[in-house]
């Protein structure tokens, strides 16, 4: 089931990449995706229920884009102005995400957002350590991060 998901994804990606939408090409993509996954089969953890995620994904993307622009501007402002407004620090952020894939996505998205950078996950995978640039209002930041995580998890679960 999971294999099939990835496989199809890869096949579609293939078609998209090659830019020629034919049955043959899809089949070829499927085959190559299959080969790619075959190499990986022992390592890929379980994934399921992907079909419901597309609308959530779109919603998430919109949210993410907004965050992205917002925080980018904030960083830009600080960089561009002579005085530092920032108040950086490393915080421990307790995670709702559980599987490897979830944690990876959460941390990646956090990293992608300017102003926050995932440094590491605790050994028990319950806490993500984040370097944040603007710790003026730490609670607000934690709330934002929690919302982000929540939206990601909704897409992934």
């Amino acid at each position: 089931m999971i294999g099939l998901f990835w496989n199809l994804l890869l096949a579609i990606a293939w078609v998209v990449l090659s830019g020629s939408v034919t049955a043959m090409n899809l089949l070829a993509g499927f085959c190559f995706g299959y080969i790619a996954l075959m190499v990986l089969q022992n390592q890929v953890p379980a994934l399921k229920g992907y079909s419901r995620r597309i609308p959530r994904l779109i919603a998430f993307l919109a949210f993410f884009l907004k965050e992205l622009v917002k925080s980018n501007l904030r960083v830009a402002y600080d960089v561009a102005t002579p005085v530092w407004h920032m108040k950086p620090g490393v915080i421990a952020f307790p995670l709702q995400a559980r599987t490897d894939m979830e944690i990876m996505f959460v941390s990646s998205v956090i990293s992608l957002t300017p102003g926050t950078l995932s440094l590491d996950v605790s050994d028990d995978r319950r806490v993500l350590f984040i370097h944040a640039m603007f710790l003026q209002d730490e609670e607000q930041l934690r709330n934002d991060l929690r919302e982000l995580e929540h939206r990601i998890l909704k897409v992934m679960r």
């Binding site: 090659s18 080969i35 790619a36 190499v39 890929v44 490897d100 894939m101 944690i103 990876m104």
Partner: protein, 141 residues
């Protein structure tokens, strides 16, 4: 210091198939667009390098199943094999031969010694780079 992170591991597993797939893509369309066996092979190798950085040399060996050396040998033999059909047809070595295999539906699948050769290049590049990286990493571990 502390090594091996969950994030890198997971990301490697996610990124690697994309790289591999893209490498095959580059290989196959190299005749018409930028790409080809060499570039494809390099991208494929980067996929495995990523894996090796995340999981270590030993796991990469297991993932590859065959020794990088054998991939290399296969690549070289493919490269040489592409020269042979020309002999049968009595032409000079390395003369390209093209076969059009009709496919169900419309279109033809273009097979050629050139493709065989490009696959050889791809495998040789992959095998070579994996030999470099794995043996160097193993010597450190």
């Amino acid at each position: 210091m502390k090594t091996n992170t969950l994030i890198l591991h997971t990301a490697a597993l996610a990124i690697m198939p994309l790289q591999l797939m893209f490498s095959v893509f580059l290989l196959l369309r190299g005749h018409d667009e930028p790409g080809g066996g060499f570039i494809g092979g390099l991208v494929a190798a980067s996929a495995f390098v990523l894996y090796a950085f995340a999981f270590g040399a030993e796991s990469t060996r297991k993932l590859l199943r065959v020794s990088p050396r054998d991939i290399l040998a296969a690549g070289l033999l493919f490269g040489l094999a592409s020269t042979i059909p020309a002999f049968w047809t009595g032409q000079a070595m390395l003369t390209a031969l093209w076969w059009e295999v009709p496919l169900p539906g419309e279109g033809y699948l273009k097979l050629s010694t050139v493709l065989i050769f490009d696959i050889g290049v791809y495998l040789a590049v992959l095998g070579t780079l994996m030999t470099f990286v794995i043996s160097l990493m193993e010597s450190d571990e």
